[in-house]
Every structure is written in structure tokens, then in C-alpha cells.
Amino acid sequence: MQLDKMDLGIHDFFTYPPVGEDDYAYMFQTAQVRSMETQMLTRTALLDMANASDFTSAAGSLSGTEYTLPSGAGAAELETMLRQRRSAVRRLFEDLMLDERIVEIFRNRNDYANLRLVLRRVLTDKPVGADYSAEGNAPPELLAQAFEEQNYAILPEHVQAAIDQATLAYYQNKSVRQIDFAIDRAEAAYGLERARTVDGNVFLVNLFRIQVDLTNLRTMLRVKSLGADPRDALLEGGFVEMDRLRQGFDLPYEALGALFFATPYHHIVESGAGYLAANGSFLVVEQQCDDYLLGYLRQTMQIASGPQPVIAFFLAKEHEIRTVRLILTAKKNQLDTKLILDRIA
């Protein structure tokens, strides 16, 4: 039954794919995140921040929350505070999650981010450096050591595989972008593969497939907008068929809505493409993608107990941190309120 739910097609669900079954081993964890969810910033609070007249009043509206900034705080203090909040959320997620493999899956995101950075530097003969994230599975020292000694065997197998793929892709035409494309593909494939083997796998698999779809939709619009080469840009493993996405590269913006009409991403594509054609900006498509993902995460409300609410809380909290950063950075730099609202509303 679970396998069926994991291998759904794009027409097998209406708005969101299923989130899986309850797992009563997570009762305490689910209750904890349910209580913490009530302390998250509401949509109204975020809109109030966006509509604030300046940075001070936007930051002031966060007083009494975990994002409180000292008076006179600048961009550096804001970034430090947000990084601390993100680390705290990640630590909490690691503490709450009973299945270590799920933690490892999410920590892998940092491994791949480190890998992108180190491979770009190594393959273009730049110094390896030491500014890597310490929140991955492979410690930064190990990564640096592996590349300095060219001894990749000390790294996890999936990282070794990604290094091989990225190096081969780079040397095909010595394009730095190919490194990213190869690592993006490796990251998506590894995430999906690992998600199939862990607790709450229906939810995780569907979550990663949605993420792949949303990435592909954004990629399709970006490639069209840039007039770039669409080869290697798309990721495999999502719900949307690759042929449909490839067809999208050749269609005008106004025809994209019709192309995706039978998919749950119809609104994302239609409004995103319309805004892109009118304003030359990706703000709406990114906002719609975030909304869709958060909508799927909200579906975990149906789960009384399980890893799904914990994962949903973790991802929603990361999104909240990004939103706070976005609004405060925009306010600090006196950006137009309309731009902020287009991105978050």
C-alpha cells in the first residue's frame, strides 16, 4: 500500500499528495511541536512587519518573540541572530527525531552545499578554504582534508559518487555550472532514495518529489527567461512528467498555464509566468512555490502522531527564518514594500 502511495502520478491526487500514516512512537514529539507551532509568527505579524515604515519599527514588532533584536542592531547582528535561531531549530529537530536516518537526510543538504563550494574551488584551482557549514554529516575539516589529500574514500559513499559525477560533468566542457547541475541531480536522487527507506517514508518521498517539481518549475521559467541551454537543468524524480516540462521550454509564457492545467501546480505556473512576463521578476513564482510547499506541510495536521508533523514544523520554521531575514533585510535597505509583499503575501 505504501509503495503505491510513494509512486503516485501527477493525476493521482488533486491538490496535495498523501502525507502517510500515524506513528504513535512520536506522540511526545508531535505534542511538543504542536505547542511550539502556536508560537510561530502568524501571517498577520509578517504582513505588519512588511508594512512597517522602517527597519526599526519592523524589528520592533518582533520584540517578545525569539527574533528580538537589540536596539541599534545592524545587518551583521541580524544575520548572526538568524543563524543562531536556525541552528537551534536544527538541534531541536535532531533531538526530537527518533529515526536518525531522517536527521541524516536533512543534514545532507549542508553536505551538498559544502560540496558545491569545495568542488568549484578545487576544479578551478582556487584554495580550498575553510568557510564550510559545520551542520552537515561530514565535518568541514574532513571535507577539506579529503580534497587536500585527494583521498575521497574518507567521505561518505554518496558524497564520493556526487564528486565523481560533478567532476566528470565539469570536464565535459569546463563549465562551473555543470558542477552545480550534477550535484543538484545527485542531491535530489539521494534524498529520494534515502526517503524511501525511513519512517514516514510516504510523506518524505512525496515532500522530496514536490520539492523536485517546484525546483523544475522555477528552473523552466528561469531557463526560458535567460534563454539558456535547458539540457541538464531539470531534476528527475518529481511528479510532473519531464516531457511536459521540456514542452514548457518552447511555449510562450501565456501558454504555460494551459500546459500545467491538469496538474496541481497550475496556479503557480500561471501567476508566476504572468508576473515574470509583466515585471521580469521571479518573486511571485517563488512565493507561490513556498506557499504550495507550506500547504503540503500543513496537511500534516491530519496526523495525530508521527514524524511528519516534526519534519513539517522543522521546514516551516526554516521558512519562517528566511521570511524574517527577507523582510528585515528589505526594510534595512529601504526596499519598496510592494516588492516585499509580492514575495511573501
Binding site: 563550494l117 525546483t215 535567460l226 521578476s281 528566511r322 535597505n333 514575495r343
Partner: protein
């Protein structure tokens, strides 16, 4: 002010040549001043819309980059921009405008400005970098024109000062000195004539 000169016919001839040369120089420098002014106004008219365009593009770049950076994880921003692929080199050539050596910037740009994958980066980063790319071309053109304008303005100032010095100081001074020598020589001539008349008168008596 009178120049400290000997009131001799030689000096008078020399000063007349000088005043003729100074008047010719004054005319030429006036023409140069007018031409430089014309060129400067032309460049200034080009600069104004160019500067507006550059400011618009840079403000667009800044806004979009801020939005992109804020909506991406910091690690992804670092990774995306760590190794830029766009290479840029510039050479300078000089052209002569009214004998002023103005620079002409020759740029050589290769590679793509978008140097990252799509999965972990924001589309706003693309918009920001493309806007920066456009701004960069305009920025070089603006720098070239502003440098030309500055050099021409300095030259205009110098030329105007030279014209004014010739017109109000050098030529009037020489003319005054010429008049003085002329008066002196005429006086000496009259002196000599009256002396000769007196001697003739004495001899007759």
C-alpha cells in the same frame, strides 16, 4: 602696468611683433575655447541620460540582489558566487580632442555571468546579475565620458584663463608699452628737431 623696457626703436618693433603674435594667439585660443565648450556640452548631454540609466540598473541590481540573498540560505549564496565565471579585462587608448588626450576604454568580457545551478538559488539572483551585466557596460561608457568631460573641463578652464590673460593683461600691457615707447621716441624726435633748430639759429646769428 608698464614693462621695464628701453625706449628704443628696436624695442618698439619687437613689441609690435609681440602684440601681433599675442592677438593671433588670442584669436586661436578663443576658437579653441569655443570648440572645447561645444564638445563639453555635447558630452554632458550624453552623460545625463547615461547616468540615469546606470543608476536605474544599479538600483535594480541592488534591490534584486538583496531579495535573492535574503531568500536564500547563506551557504547557498556563498557557494553560488564563490567562483565567478565572467572574466573582464580592460585596455585604454587615447584619442585627441582639441589637443586634449582623452581616454577611450576598450573592454573585453568573456564567460557567462550566471555561474550557478538552479536548484538552490533564487531567480532574483539571475535578474540581479543580468542587471549588473547591463549596468557594467553602461558604467564603463559613463566612466569614459565622465573622464573625457573632466579633462576637457580642465582644459577649458586653462584655455579660458589664457584667453583672459592675453585679452586683459598681455595685449593691453604691450600696447601701453608700445604707446609709451612711441611717445618717448616722438619726444626725443621733437627734442632733437628743436635742438637742431636752435643750433641753426645760433649759427645764423
Amino acid at each position: 602696468m608698464l614693462a621695464n623696457v628701453n625706449a628704443t626703436r628696436m624695442e618698439l618693433l619687437r613689441l609690435r611683433k609681440r602684440v601681433a603674435l599675442a592677438s593671433r594667439g588670442h584669436r586661436l585660443l578663443s576658437e579653441k575655447r569655443d570648440e572645447i565648450s561645444r564638445q563639453l556640452i555635447k558630452i554632458a548631454r550624453d552623460i545625463q541620460p547615461l547616468r540615469q540609466k546606470v543608476e536605474t540598473e544599479l538600483s535594480q541590481t541592488f534591490r534584486r540582489f538583496m531579495l535573492a540573498r535574503a531568500s536564500m540560505e547563506p551557504e547557498h549564496t556563498t557557494a553560488a558566487l564563490a567562483v565567478p565565471t565572467k572574466k573582464f579585462s580592460m585596455a585604454m587608448q587615447f584619442a585627441s580632442v582639441m589637443n586634449v588626450k582623452v581616454p577611450h576604454l576598450l573592454k573585453e568580457i568573456e564567460g557567462e555571468i550566471i555561474c550557478y545551478g538552479y536548484a538552490t538559488t533564487s531567480g532574483e539572483m539571475d535578474v540581479a546579475l543580468l542587471s549588473l551585466e547591463r549596468a557594467f557596460d553602461l558604467l564603463i561608457e559613463l566612466a569614459e565620458k565622465e573622464k573625457q568631460a573632466r579633462l576637457l573641463a580642465v582644459e577649458l578652464q586653462m584655455t579660458r584663463r589664457r584667453v583672459n590673460v592675453l585679452e586683459h593683461v598681455v595685449i593691453p600691457e604691450i600696447q601701453e608699452t608700445t604707446r609709451y615707447i612711441h611717445d618717448k621716441l616722438s619726444e626725443a624726435e621733437r627734442d632733437n628737431t628743436s635742438r637742431l633748430m636752435k643750433i641753426t639759429d645760433i649759427i645764423r646769428k
